[in-house]
Amino acid sequence: MRIVSGGVTDLGRVRTNNEDCFRIVESLDLFVLADGMGGEAHGEVASEMAVETVVKACMEPSEAGATQLGTSEPTWSGKTRRLTGAVHQANRNIYDAAEAHPEQHGMGATLTAAWIDGSKLSVAHVGDSRLYLLRSGNLQQLTSDHSLVAEQVRRGILTAAEAEESEMQSVLLRALGALPDVEVDTEEHMLFARDTLLLCCDGLTRMVSDPEIAGTLQSENDPTRAAEKLIALANERGGVDNITVIVVRVGSESRGWFSWLFGTGRRKAASNGAAGGS
């Protein structure tokens, strides 16, 4: 599988600081995105700590010696296990930092990570950032939001439409750094040629609907430009929060638009998008 990707983060139109953070590690086909919370500059600290911890743990060459936090399923691949352990570690690091520095108390972060190994995709996720898969024109959400309203929808208390109108959308049930241990959602999926992955924070999904996301991803082949277009759309609608988007395109070796994409030399993958606004 050949992978091209691009990521962009933006301050939005209302906020004065960017608490989002993302990293694309091209050599590993690893994609990590976090949305920080907790006043002053502490949201930025938390999201950066989350992303850096996960990237570092995934880059370390050996799994041996690392004490793995959290539980894992026997069927998981080594990479899935390492990624999940890394998210548990990130939770612990943020929690410990907040305990050690009283002014950072209450900081936390969402984290959504996707790691591609051949045709296997490992996903680890906490919070209300999202991972989408666009396949055969069909946009599918591969993560569950750990928000109060999403839980109410799952329990049949609210409809999906009511949840979108709710004033409780910012209330999370799970985030990194809130408690010494966290439950991490982990899943493995198989990828097919021409699949597109989208990682994004709620700054996008609160402003832009699923059909618009699908349409933008289908109309713009270049991952970075697709990410820029989605951010522009969210800003047109008001951009009330920071917006961060990573687009990953999976292709076969030599067919269709993918070879065309490579032929024109448009590859523009951002390698590091630490928070900082536009």
Binding site: D35, M37, G108, S119, L133, R135, S136, G137, N138, L139, Q140, Q141, L142, T143, S144, L148, A150, E151, Q152, V153, R154, R155, G156, I157, L158, T159, A160, A163, E164, E165, S166, E167, M168, Q169, S170, V171, L172, L173, R174, A175, A178, L179, E187, H189, M190, F192, R206, V208, S209, D210, P211, E212, I213, A214, G215, Q218, S219, R237, G238, V240
Partner: protein, 241 residues
């Protein structure tokens, strides 16, 4: 009478009824519904009645025609569907005399607690209980877990039953599919089932599945007992306790 409303940025640009003649859509001004945008082909698509059903047909346009979030060559339209052509969308009103509220597919700007916050375990439990007490649509009694299951009742697959435990279930011939369809000329991905917060949605792969005999035009929420047919395979979707 069925009606098409061309919309741009929430504003209605033009409305046309669909009668016996097809309604043509495109950039050229001689269309019934001209759309002035460079992303739109001169003769982009048309909408007409066929066998009592409203159909949209893409006329080999450069940038494609989308129904809701799905690119289509030809698709049956339902009341409330949106046809997306470039940055414009066309709302389909097939409801007859009763006008339906227009769901734009855009996010309404909801009032919100501005800063994200996390509930601790106790607050979380209380809040959910409170919400459950006031909610009227509590479907799942606590402690009774219902597992969505596909039961194969026709066609050749590698198993007879599949519990849907993942966010995504792929039905097809591919070795990577969850529900492996056997036989010649079967598509690698025939259909896909996505678990969302409010239920399980079946969407197309390389094929358009039918649900209870009706071809789907986009993701459709599955109900207990639904019959799914795709690529010669018939399955029942049920919730098992």
């Amino acid at each position: 009478m069925a009606k098409l409303s061309l919309k741009f940025e929430e504003k209605t640009v033009k409305e046309v009824p669909v009668g016996n003649r097809p309604v043509s859509i495109g950039r050229s001004p001689d269309n019934d519904l001209p759309v002035d945008n460079l992303a739109v082909s001169n003769y982009h698509a048309r909408v007409y009645f066929e066998g009592g059903r409203l159909v949209v047909e893409d006329l080999d346009s450069l940038n494609g025609t989308f129904v809701n979030d799905l690119r289509v060559e030809r698709a049956t339209l339902h009341d409330g569907d949106s046809i997306w052509i470039g940055k414009h969308h066309i709302k389909v009103d097939a409801s007859g005399d009763a006008p339906v509220p227009w769901d734009s597919g855009r996010k309404a700007s909801a009032p919100r607690i501005n800063e994200t916050m996390v509930l601790d375990t106790k607050a979380r439990r209380e809040m959910l209980q409170q919400a459950a007490a006031t909610g009227e649509r509590v479907q799942f009694a606590a402690g009774r877990l219902k597992v969505p299951t596909l039961i194969v009742i026709g066609g050749r697959t590698d198993q007879k039953e599949y519990m849907l435990t993942n966010k995504l279930t792929v039905i097809g011939k591919s070795a990577m599919a969850t529900v492996k369809v056997k036989g010649w000329f079967k598509p690698p991905i025939a259909a896909q089932i996505n678990q969302r917060d409010d239920g399980y949605y079946i969407g197309p792969g390389d094929k358009m599945p039918t649900v209870n005999g009706v071809p789907i035009t986009g993701p459709v929420r599955l109900n207990d007992g639904d019959l799914i047919e795709v690529s010669g395979v018939r399955m029942n979707f049920v919730f098992r306790e």
